[in-house]
Amino acid sequence: MRPAVLNPSLAVLALVLFLSSMAVGPADLGLSESIRGLFAGGGEAAAIIMREIRLPRALLGLGIGFTLGIAGAVLQGFLRNPLAEPGIIGVSATAAFGAVAIFYTGLAGASLYSLPLGALMGALLAVIVLIALAARTNSTLTLILAGVALSSLSGALTSLVLNLSTNPFASYEIIFWLLGSLKDRSMEHVILAVPLMAAGWILIAISARAVDALSLGEEAAASLGIHMGRARLFVILGVALGVGAATAVAGTIGFVGLVVPHLIRPLTNRLPSRLLLPAGLGGAALLLAADVAARLVLPAGELNVGVLTALIGAPFFLWLVVRAGREVFT
């Protein structure tokens, strides 16, 4: 499909799901009432619900979905590994541990700003370890196994820190950090995360040409005049910024970055750079849809959105593994 058709159609899909997200919630608001609340403002209940509760939630769904999609696409291209994804290779889990380690120990007070700070450091550490590892070996399997180890370790440390907190409510939040949620977010979270995610998108977009050249092999890329050191740095920083900020406000949401690039790649000319934008839009659409479903499936309690993305993504992951068979795992 030509980009001129593919990108607008995915953008329309994401927009429709964004609007659906704004329409779903426990308060029984009519269509006209919610539209008036969103645009007219004022102190009416409908206005507060639309602007302070549903809008931040939908904006975060859009931004975080875009981030996970684009990060998955760039990692798959850059690492030349079809199974690479922020969740599977352990970047999300390490980011969550970073956020938890700084926030719950009270090192930075109760300030929300400590969340992205910790998450960025965690994500950065994970991406550096993984890219260093990938530079030493060409095996797809090694990277995935390293990711499994990183995820398990970070998950265990996250649970440990939360259990050790003297606040008895902290241990409830293990579920949030391991499975992710967009429940009860506010504009504060949007302001905290969106600029950092946008910076990540830009860095990833700048490195797109290098990732294309890299699909011809490192020597070929170098002969095309691509500065590999700089490209590597941009990918590391871009993924760490984006996934770190996303995880800081929504916990670990897995598999979006795996499923979406694979679904969309056949619709592109298979150049990694051409996949980035549609993968971002597709990621936004998938996360928004999952977040709408999370509210509809269990209206009283609300499901963690990471449960739904895993229900879609994990069987898909298995299918990829089976289909790829031996040729990938060398």
Partner: protein, 299 residues
């Protein structure tokens, strides 16, 4: 509601003691096998946050061998300062066996296994129901007084509690503003909780109870905004151990409710256990009720 109890108990073992303090299940008030003229027990151990409160208020110096460790937590225990003066236990049968007390007082929730084991080992165990309302508190005070051999002290305490309750009740008026106790993670305290009875005695309607919340259950933020309660009581929070759940009752959407009074008007410990300290919460809320809608204006 029961699911949330189980989560409490499994995620954080100590919470079992706390959960017993606030959550609700079928009521069973045990018969009181107190022997007339028996000597008061010399050494008493309390395994539950709620029995801690009653025992600390009524025991003679040296009579209380230990209390539960939760009694020292300022967010759960109204008498947390006093609790520093007693040794603490974690509600384990082993601790009781080593201490060999003459009497063990505990709650009926979640420590069934411990209680059964202790009875088999020959300890005298007295259980207090964890269904608590403002109205049941004086009887609980009297029962604990009898068990500890200090009926006179207990009677004075219970009578003054009843008198103060009477006084608040005398100031009731037909208009009852709507209140919501909005706790960590957006959990509301609904029908059957101690908080519900405190709100009712102080002259408020409980939004959560009217919306059908039984016990403690999540209450969507959107519904709080939609219903605009006159009063939203938020938790005081843990200063040195932050959690994300602490932030939900302080969400920006609630700050925009101009006609609602929002704040930690009553310390969270007031709802955790029915004890003499609950009357303070009743009085604070009754005053707030008067500020929101004075009876003379309503008439």
């Amino acid at each position: 509601m029961m699911t949330s109890c189980r989560k409490h108990a499994s995620l954080f073992s100590g919470m079992a003691l706390y959960a017993g303090a606030t959550l609700v299940a079928p009521a069973l008030l045990w018969p009181q096998p107190v022997l007339a003229g028996a000597r008061p027990p010399a050494r008493v151990m309390s395994l539950n946050l709620c029995t801690d409160q009653l025992a600390m208020a009524l025991a003679a110096p040296g009579q209380l061998a230990s209390i539960s460790f939760l009694a020292r937590d300022p967010t759960l225990s109204p008498l947390y300062r006093q609790a520093q003066n007693f040794p603490v236990n974690r509600g384990l049968a082993e601790e009781v066996f080593l201490a060999q007390p003459d009497l063990v007082v505990t709650g009926t929730y979640s420590l069934h296994n411990t209680t059964g084991l202790l009875r088999r080992l020959g300890f005298r165990v007295e259980e207090f129901s964890f269904i608590q309302t403002v109205e049941t508190i004086p009887e609980e005070i009297r029962r604990m007084g009898k068990l500890l051999g200090h009926e006179a002290v207990a009677e004075t305490l219970a009578a003054s509690f009843e008198a103060e309750l009477q006084q608040v009740a005398a100031h009731q008026c037909p208009y009852r503003p709507v209140a919501l106790v909005y706790d960590q993670n957006g959990i509301a305290l609904g029908r059957g909780t101690l908080a519900d009875s405190v709100l009712s005695v102080a002259g408020f309607r409980n939004l959560a109870a009217e919306a059908g919340v039984e016990g403690m259950a999540p209450f969507p933020l959107e519904l709080v905004v939609e219903k605009k309660p006159d009063l939203i009581i938020t938790p005081s929070g843990y200063e040195d151990a932050p959690s994300l759940g602490d932030r939900v009752p302080h969400h920006a959407a609630l700050q925009m409710l101009k006609d609602s009074r929002i704040g930690p008007f009553v310390p969270s410990s007031a709802w955790s256990c029915g004890g003499p300290a609950v009357i303070e919460a009743v009085k604070v809320l009754a005053e707030l009720r008067d500020e929101i809608a004075s009876c003379s204006e309503a008439q």
